[in-house]
Assembly symmetry: C2
Homo-oligomer: 199 residues x 2
DNA sequence: CAAATCTCCAAACGTTCGGTTGGAGTTTAA
DNA sequence: TTAAACTCCAACCGAACGTTTGGAGATTTG
């Protein structure tokens, strides 16, 4: 195995196999890069370098750059709503939901960013059937927690709570122009308050 | 002036000057391409071809690709909220605002897309001071129309109404997974209804 | 133990891309 | 009328990029 003169090692140990770890390292690095720069702005070479894996392995495991991007989205975007349940009833339910969503976005900003890149760069969502099923469950739970007369109340409410909770993550520049630099605590409090009003 | 054999003309008329038109054509084509594909995915060559202008002109007028992108954002993103005033009071004011925002997004989807690309691809917003002033005026008007006790009510309300109004434009895939393929009329109605509840 | 298969690598390839150059013609100014 | 300045173009350049190739070594199989 040849190294360039500037990094020639005294002894190159042979490379042991670790198929699962290789794949996971590539996915983790790809998640970072695609979250930051999107599909078009992400660089295969830079992803591989950060993973510490040869970029040829990307083609072996994922097919191509598009396959890698899809794999990242498949593993990440479901996590956005994963484990967030509807608890309580009425205004409490909506406030808690909004707070949980806000916290999720605050702790994992890359998830919302990946969702946005998916929206802008893909014609169709990834994992549509499983994500659709997850959303349907949330809608049904919301309809139980916040009963309403109109037939689509659950779906409309869920979408509005998401819109409120993610407004500053989806549109950070506009948010800052509107609200100034308020603290995450203040922002969270406002999100919970506004969502409660939808009851 | 040389043309390739496949498009050799019998006679090449010399090119007259039209500096303003050239610039506008480039901006229009750039708006289309950057709205669709973002900065990283937009192609200078493709933009120039669509404008019918030599791509070297882009460097003359805008400096580089980044300058072109900034020029597009500067001319487009202010149009998103431009001319949208707060009318009425209470729930009516919020409902009308949400409806107007929804209509603006529906009629000019490229504006929201450009806003999203700005959010994802730029560290700072363009035209921050003029946009900030415009937002401050809207916040003040909202505080008049929907008086509230908390000090930041106007800003929080505006951001929430925007979040509700643009939820399906910002996150179209997630919206469709949640709501199914409802009609724009139904979607608009839901947006107005939900926004009214924030009063 | 040897052959087959698999994983991993460095290097290379062909294409794409943003940006520049040399020059032709248009318009303006003296 | 001529020179200067400006606008516009085709072609080009160097770098970047996604993808492939040839081969070395690790692991599995018979």
């Amino acid at each position: 195995m040849y190294h360039s003169p500037t990094e020639r090692l005294e002894y190159d140990p042979p490379v042991a196999w670790n198929t699962q770890e290789t794949r996971q390292k590539l996915l983790a690095a790809a998640s970072t890069h695609f979250s930051r720069s999107g599909f078009a702005g992400g660089r295969v070479e830079a992803i591989a370098r950060e993973a510490g894996i040869n970029k040829e392995r990307i083609y072996q495991y994922f097919g191509n750059k598009e396959g890698l991007f899809a794999a990242v989205l498949e593993s990440e975007v479901e996590r956005l709503l994963d484990g967030i349940d509807i608890t309580g009833a009425g205004a409490d339910a909506l406030g808690t939901l909004a707070g949980d969503l806000f916290d999720r976005a605050a702790q994992h900003p890359r998830l919302v960013r990946l969702l946005l890149w998916e929206s802008l760069e893909l014609a169709e969502p990834v994992s549509a059937s499983t994500r659709g099923a997850g959303c349907a469950r949330m809608v049904a739970a919301l309809e139980q927690a916040v009963p309403r007369s109109d037939a689509r109340g659950g779906a409309d409410t869920l979408l509005s709570v998401i819109g409120i909770a993610f407004a500053d993550t989806c549109l950070p520049h506009l948010s800052r122009l509107i609200s100034g630099s308020d603290s995450p605590e203040d922002r969270r409090s406002a999100v919970v308050q506004q969502a409660r009003r939808l009851a």
